[in-house]
Amino acid sequence: MHRSAHKTTFLICVGILVLIVAIHNFARYYVAKDYPFHVFTSCAPFMHSCFTADPTNSDPTFQGGAYEKVMIDAAHAPICLEEHTCANFSCDGLGALCQVTYCSPDALEDGESCTSSTQ
């Protein structure tokens, strides 16, 4: 095969590779929204065991009060989650991948502690 044909073929293959990856990712993230959100929402300590964080070792924006941890796929996430305005969040009707984690000794991370639960 002629050298210039090699060169052109190679560059075209690289170009096709880039397009495939870009188009696939575009479809995945923009169209299908096929990726999970991880977010903290407000938690009612009298109803559930909630997480609280040490003020000296946390971000007050989303760890200011009692919170629960939510994992949900972006396609089913309600807008209040992105805006951090959800109250009494529940996974009902939000798809099988939605999961709410309340505070427990297994779920604790550095600087976190659990509130007492009345449930």
């Binding site: 990726y35 959100f37 991880h38």
Partner: protein, 548 residues
């Protein structure tokens, strides 16, 4: 205007005080626009493989910078952040690959061998698969508005980039040592240094962030991450210098053009930083003025360069024409000399009685013919000598000889001509010997010419030849009471074809090359020759100094 782009109000409010927006815009937008503009210009003008690959590097960098900026500006929305962030490592590694590919073709002038292309792709493939599957950023953290990275996968990006950098260093070392010519070595070094600065800054910035992102030094490394992009303008400066100095990509751009464009780009990028209306107006005014003045400057410099090139071309054409003229003169004079020599020989043979005795009434005619042909031959020889001297074809065989005996011989030969005109011909050559080193054959032309001229241009009176020795030199002087030399004629005396007005009245057959030949021969002997005269009709004095 910014409000139009805010799709996640929470993220905007969360990030606006944390990230240096101005610095982000200043480091990302102008650098990538500059790179794209430079790359497009080179590709448009050069249309070669290195130019195309360089454009690719700039394109990958611009895409990476746009995606990185987008990832920083999480208020554009989670989808946007995830999409752009997922492709960052992919485009970064691709950019490293194309940078190495570009450098290879730029330095060697050849395409990258297939085996290297395959290895390059093999290094790229894991990053491609990771980006395709999205395993490098498994989750989007809505709390901090960032994609959470899986370090197990992102570490591979640094390994790949590190490999490309090491391969680049190895390649440059080999190529630098292979090249023998200084210009080629310098070109390789410049291109290589520019590339390594660019890749090094880029790699170190992202690598340091990955190491220290969770530490107390995180704010410093995040700022360095931003500054890491300035490796690209440095790379462009190196390439700009290569284009201007070494006509890289076969582009004929000159320094002023590159400087003005760079100045405009830097000024324009100020808009990313300045916020007040007054500052923006000032920047805009400065930009417009720089554009106008810069354009005029480029035009005038371009005109000067074109004129200089035109003059150089004309000089080249003139030199060629001169060479052709000399060849023509040689050809013509040789041909004519041949005819004249033949004719002179015939006259000589007839006069010597080779064809029997010559009638007395014929003798004056034959002698006149012989004399005329002899003068003709001498004239032709003089023209030939001048042409040889002008073309630098004369070589001198230097040897020591006694100047006194030398002048005596010449004077003895020419004295009859002086006696025939009734001139008093005096020799004052001093005592002892005066040894000089020179080419006797060429110097005969000098002193014969000077003495002969003196006799020719003196109607009555005296012709005196003197020889004097001083420390380190021998001085020859010939003084006459002849037509003299006007100040006007003095200027053209020793020039090619230089005639004096009075001399042409006396000697219409003068070629004007005699004294030109004398000067050139004396100059070649590291001596000096000059003339002195009180003016027309007041005689003249010719002095020759030769090193002893």
């Amino acid at each position: 205007m910014l409000a139009y782009f805010i799709h996640a109000q929470y993220c905007y409010e969360y990030l606006v005080n944390q990230i240096p927006m101005g610095l982000l815009l200043y480091s990302h937008l102008p650098t990538s626009l500059l790179a794209l503009a430079f790359g497009t210009y080179v590709l448009f003008k050069a249309r070669t493989l290195p130019a195309f690959l360089f454009f690719n590097v700039c394109l990958m960098f611009a895409i990476w910078a746009a995606f990185d900026l987008s990832a920083w500006f999480a208020f554009l929305g989670a989808d946007n952040v995830m999409f752009t962030w997922s492709l960052l490592d992919f485009f970064a590694v691709l950019m490293f690959f194309f940078t190495y590919y570009f450098l290879y073709t730029f330095v060697t002038g050849k395409d990258l061998p297939l085996w290297q292309k395959l290895i390059g792709i093999a290094i790229l493939l894991p990053t491609t698969v990771i980006a395709f599957m999205g395993v490098n950023i498994p989750t989007y953290d809505l709390n901090s508005c960032t994609a959470l990275e899986d370090n197990a996968y992102t570490i591979y990006t640094y390994i790949a980039e590190g490999i490309y950098i090491l391969v680049t260093i190895a390649f440059l070392t080999i190529e630098y040592l292979k090249k023998k010519e200084r210009t080629q070595r310098r070109r390789t070094l410049l291109a290589g240094t520019g590339v390594l600065i660019f890749l090094g800054f880029f790699f170190s910035a992202s690598f340091l962030v990955s190491l220290y992102a969770s530490s107390d030094a995180s704010s410093y490394v995040y700022n360095y991450l931003i500054y890491g992009l300035f490796g690209m303008p440095v790379f462009l400066i190196y390439l700009g210098y290569l284009i201007v100095r070494y006509h890289a990509f076969n582009l004929k751009t000159f320094g002023v053009q590159a400087l003005v464009v760079a100045l405009i780009a830097v000024l324009a990028s100020e808009f990313a930083f300045v916020t007040t209306l007054t500052s923006r107006v000032l920047v805009a005014v400065t930009l417009i003025l720089t554009g106008i003045i810069g354009t005029q400057l480029i035009r005038s410099v371009k005109r000067e360069i074109e004129q200089r090139e035109h003059i150089e071309k004309l000089a080249g054409d003139l030199e060629k024409a001169n060479e052709q003229q000399i060849v023509l003169i040689h050809f013509i004079t040789h041909q004519i000399k041949g005819f004249v020599t033949k004719s002179r020989n015939i006259f000589s043979m007839v006069l010597e009685g080779d064809f029997g005795s010559v009638p007395e009434q014929m003798k004056p005619m034959l002698e006149e013919g012989f004399s005329s042909d002899t003068k003709g031959m001498n004239t032709i020889q003089e023209i030939l000598n001048a042409a040889n001297i002008k073309s630098g074809k004369v070589t001198y065989a230097m040897a020591p000889f006694d100047m006194k005996l030398f002048i005596e011989e010449i004077a003895k030969e020419l004295k009859p001509a002086a006696d025939a005109k009734g001139l008093e011909f005096t020799l004052d050559l001093g005592m002892g010997t005066d040894v000089v080193t020179g080419d006797r054959g060429q110097l005969v032309n000098v002193f014969k010419n000077l003495i002969d001229n003196s006799i020719k241009y003196t109607q009555k009176g005296t012709v005196t030849v003197r020889l004097k020795k001083e420390t380190g030199k021998v001085i020859f002087t010939i003084e006459d009471t002849g037509v003299g030399i006007t100040p006007e004629d003095m200027k053209n005396l020793f020039t090619e074809g230089g005639h004096g007005k009075e001399s042409t009245k006396v000697n219409v057959e003068s070629t004007g090359f005699g004294l030109y030949i004398v000067k050139n021969i004396i100059d070649a002997h590291k001596g000096k020759v000059w003339a002195e005269s009180e003016g027309a009709g007041k005689g003249s004095r010719f002095i020759v100094e030769l090193p002893a």
